[in-house]
């Protein structure tokens, strides 16, 4: 049983780390110096990476995943049990 548990631990990505851990790494990425040209002008790099995220659009909408093709029978079947018309578990009853 311990082995199964360990395997499960490895398989499941640690979401807690993903959410709370990555902040530190992102902060480290900063410190990008502007290049100087001719000692007078600074090249303003096009906004990228962290910058773009920092000035991104403040919006709570979660864009749907385009990879799912809802024309396909398999995709339709994959959510069939979410509806009352689908299969019911043994211990529950309509």
């Amino acid at each position: 049983a311990a082995e199964v548990f360990l395997r499960q631990q490895r398989a499941a990505p640690n979401l807690r780390k993903l959410v709370y851990g990555t902040v530190v790494e992102e902060e480290e990425e900063e410190g990008e110096e502007d290049e100087e040209v001719g000692g007078l002008f600074r090249v303003s790099r096009p906004e990228k990476g962290k910058r773009r995220r920092a000035d991104g659009l403040d919006c709570s909408r979660f864009e749907p995943d385009d990879s799912h093709d809802w024309e396909q029978e398999e995709m339709l079947a994959s959510i069939r049990d979410c509806f009352v018309t689908g299969k019911w578990e043994g211990n529950t009853d309509a």
Binding site: A12, P13, L15, R16, L18, V19, Y20, V23, S44, E47, R51, R53, A54, D55, G56, L57, D58, C59, S60, R61, F62, P64, D65, H68, W70, M75, L76, A77, S78, I79, R80, D81, C82, F83, V84, T85, G86, K87, W88, E89
Partner: protein, 372 residues
């Protein structure tokens, strides 16, 4: 640093920061707001948002530098009461309403806000969607009673606006902890197809095409058609659809789609819009969970501010906005959630992986609420 409050860079997640700052009483400073942009500083809609916060609070101090790239915000007391706000048309009323919904239960006086502007646009959750999903969610946290309502008196489409929405919300001393781990099966699908300043037939065409897809799953579908005329129809033409799937346990999953604003982008046929919207709803069902993806952060906020007890909620995949919200909750309230992945059984066909969020509430009490 502690006396200075928290400092952030960039204008993203602007609302989250100001909302959490207002609730926690911590000062916040936002630097480098579009500092490398051709048009630097705060936009009109953000300024409008700050004005709205100023209206619902007492004693808020706001300092903005000349170019608008640095904002210092010292929150005051949440006062509430009756307010009227002209929302900037760059963002829809949903942008402002989302924030008010988060703040409203913690005010001194029950909030009665009349918001004017764009009711439906492509960026933000529309007022229809919030009305159908956020209100039932609030009820689960013990925020209910006569006063809780979102009413659309006038509809206004982008870019002209001209809509009007009335939001009323009672105040609560504490928020109830919740245990939402079983979403339940979907028993019916409801929706609203609306059209303004176009042929009322558009709404019927949307309904037919959306039904053609959803009827494969469930027969109990009813989509209202809402055609507003004259002064109630705002300044710009447009049409759209909001779909809501309701489960046996009272979970509401939603999807919506709006036509492109007049003069921007290609015109979309109402049939295509209906079909696309139905597919977005299927995607939302695939994600699943007890809270709709647009309201994840609202649920997590109420969980954080609940009594000192364990709250559990099953969510679909976390949206990027929610992930950032979790980080901000940690910054402002020092609360971290326990996040567990729940894989569905092989033989069950219930969509993708779910996430179980668990936390102990901060024991936040609304001290400004008057006792009666």
């Amino acid at each position: 640093m502690a006396s200075q409050g928290l400092t952030y860079d960039g204008c993203n997640f602007f609302r989250q920061r100001l909302i959490l700052s207002t609730l926690s009483g911590k000062r916040v400073k936002i630097r480098h707001v579009r500092s490398k942009d051709d048009n630097p500083g705060l936009r009109d809609f953000e300024a409008s948002f700050i004005r709205l916060l100023d209206k619902v609070t007492n004693g808020t101090r706001i300092e903005i530098n000349q170019t608008g790239t640095v904002l210092f915000y010292q929150p005051g007391l949440l006062f509430g009461g009756t307010i009227e706000h002209e929302c900037n048309v760059q963002r829809s009323v949903g942008y402002y309403l989302e924030a008010l919904i988060m703040l409203a239960p913690f005010m001194k006086n029950p909030l009665r806000a009349l918001l004017k502007g764009v009711t439906n646009d492509q960026k933000d959750p529309s007022v229809d969607l919030l009305k159908a999903t956020a209100i039932p969610l609030m009820k689960k946290f013990g925020i209910d009673g006569d006063g809780l309502e979102i009413k659309i008196t006038k509809r206004g489409m982008a870019p002209g606006g001209g809509g009007e929405v009335l939001f009323t919300c009672p105040v609560r001393r504490t928020i109830r902890p919740v245990q939402m781990t079983e979403p339940g099966k979907i028993k019916r699908i409801r929706g609203t197809a609306y059209s303004v300043r176009v042929s009322p037939q558009m709404a019927n065409r949307i309904v037919d095409s959306a039904r053609s897809i959803l009827n494969q799953f469930i027969p109990d579908i009813y989509i209202y058609t809402d055609h507003m005329k004259g002064a109630n129809s705002g300044k710009s033409p447009g049409f759209g659809l909001t779909l809501i799937a309701e489960t046996l346990n009272g979970t509401f999953l939603s999807a919506e789609m709006v036509s492109n604003p007049q003069g921007q982008g290609e015109t979309i046929l109402p049939e295509d819009l209906g079909r696309k919207c139905a597919k977005i709803l299927l995607e939302e069902v695939y994600r699943g969970g007890c809270v709709d993806s647009a309201n994840q952060s609202l649920a997590l906020l109420y969980m954080t501010l609940g009594q000192q007890d364990v709250s559990k909620t099953l969510l679909g995949p976390l949206s990027p906005y929610t992930i950032e919200f979790l980080r901000h909750i940690r910054d402002f309230f020092q609360i971290m959630f326990k996040i567990e992945v729940k894989k569905p059984n092989e033989e069950e066909m219930k969509g993708g992986n779910k996430v179980l969020m668990t936390c102990v509430g901060a024991g936040y009490t609304n001290i400004s609420k008057t006792l009666k």
